[in-house]
Symmetry: C2
Subunit: 273 residues, 2 copies
């Protein structure tokens, strides 16, 4: 009879085949372009960070930032490390959206990836090209259901436009996965991962759990409403939005100004009781 000590001394991890494990990050932020009309407020757009791959495989394709899990770190630490390397910004929040583990998803071999949604706040992240990246840019996101039931994911940056087509497949527990009909020349299975990330992001935005993360500490209620409307791709009455959000924010004494119309009171997120 063997005791636990000697069992552990004898245990050889190399005896079993192991995959490589990566973390991929779907990093969102909101643009805030000034408008051309001095009276009109800016309309935010949902942006997603992609890097242009500098090495094989998928060299020259756009892909999600990510990298290999190192010994001694958790998968969350790995995701944070990768996003900081690419943007020099510590994301305010991170949410796992699952392990993508199809055996042939990476031509290099058996490489599985845990994907994360990350929100970068108002501190205007730069994009820094890392080791493996020839370029890094923020892409404007559009994700809409077509009449034939497929979902079109369009990512646009200047004259580059990537258009992937996916089909939603509902499975148990209200979870939905996407199958890729056209990758839109995104690398690996990243179109599928981005679709899953957008679905997860919208789920959270619906109950206000994360919309604050996109804004600075103080904000107007209209800005907050714009954040939610941009993420969910809907529009609603401002009176109704204000009623729903009322319990989650508190007033400050400050106001906006200088905008050709009535100033707005700034609000803060109310801390939990």
């Amino acid at each position: 009879m063997q005791d636990e000590q000697s069992f552990l001394r004898q245990y050889r991890q190399d005896d079993y085949p192991r995959p490589s494990v990566t973390a991929d990050v779907v990093a969102f932020t909101l643009s805030s372009e000034a408008s051309d009309n001095y009276r009109r407020n800016a309309q935010p757009k949902l942006l997603l960070l992609l890097i242009k791959r500098g090495g094989h495989p998928f060299k020259g394709c756009w892909a999600l930032p990510g990298g290999f899990l190192n010994p001694g770190e958790t998968i969350e630490q790995c995701a944070l490390r990768e996003i900081e390397e690419e943007t020099a910004v510590k994301p305010v929040s991170l949410m796992s959206i699952g392990l993508f583990s199809e055996p042939d998803r990476d031509p290099r071999g058996w490489i599985i990836s845990n994907a994360f949604v990350s929100v970068l706040g108002a501190e205007k992240p730069e994009q820094r090209s890392g080791d493996d990246a020839a370029d890094a840019q923020w892409f404007e996101v559009s994700f809409e259901r077509a009449e034939d039931g497929t979902e079109a994911l369009t990512l646009t940056h200047e004259d580059v436009s990537l258009r992937a087509v996916l089909k939603e497949e509902k499975s148990a527990f209200g979870i939905s996965a996407f199958s890729v009909l056209d990758s839109g020349s995104l690398a690996f299975d990243h179109a599928k991962i981005i679709a899953a990330a957008l679905t997860a992001l919208r789920g959270c935005a619906r109950d206000f759990e994360m919309i604050f993360d996109f804004l600075p500490e103080k904000f107007t209620l209209t800005e907050l409403q714009n954040v939610q409307e941009t993420i969910l791709n809907v529009s609603m009455q401002s009176a109704n939005f204000r009623r729903k959000i009322a319990g989650l924010v508190e007033e400050t004494e400050e106001y906006t100004g200088g905008a050709g119309h009535r100033p707005a009171k700034l609000y803060k997120r109310k801390q939990e009781a």
Copy 2:
């Protein structure tokens, strides 16, 4: 300049350290013990499958069923394979609850685990002891918040009672993780995984997404209500439950009977439009 073909030929996965990857399954079912009173209906209890470890490490401790990811399969297939090996039942549904990747969570070395919630329906799963299991049993589940804010997880089977204590830590996006204050002699970090699974299960039960999975094809509305009440650990008025569920079920022509009280109409789950 190298092309993609020759890059892939040269790529050596062994050059990078890799963890072992496992899938652990938190498998739930409902008991349906006959009551002692011929008039009274049975009250279901939420049950969770644990195996008693037959080998090191944690030999003799109770643990979640699970096993190593094999080459050529996805993590979902791995989880299904493991649960079928233990119960001889194909689960009706499977939901990932995240990758548990603390570097020291397994004394054998760098082993990370994707955990899944699984629901086994009314087909009365057996428990079969697999290779590594000395025993396998269904444990009654209790998971409640104490006055001091900690959560007590109690698992009971006959004279065995495991009691773990955890603390909920809210993080971004409304996700909550649990830290283990007392593992209750559950193996590895499995107390933490079970707490996360129960939280996920309750989230799904709230909007009826999976309560049908616990029942056979035809069921009474009272049985359905009991399922939700058992999982959520609440009680509600039957009139109100019936109104809420009305759009999701459809009548059959059959009735229960022989129970010392008014028979109940059997219903089916309504298929999506």
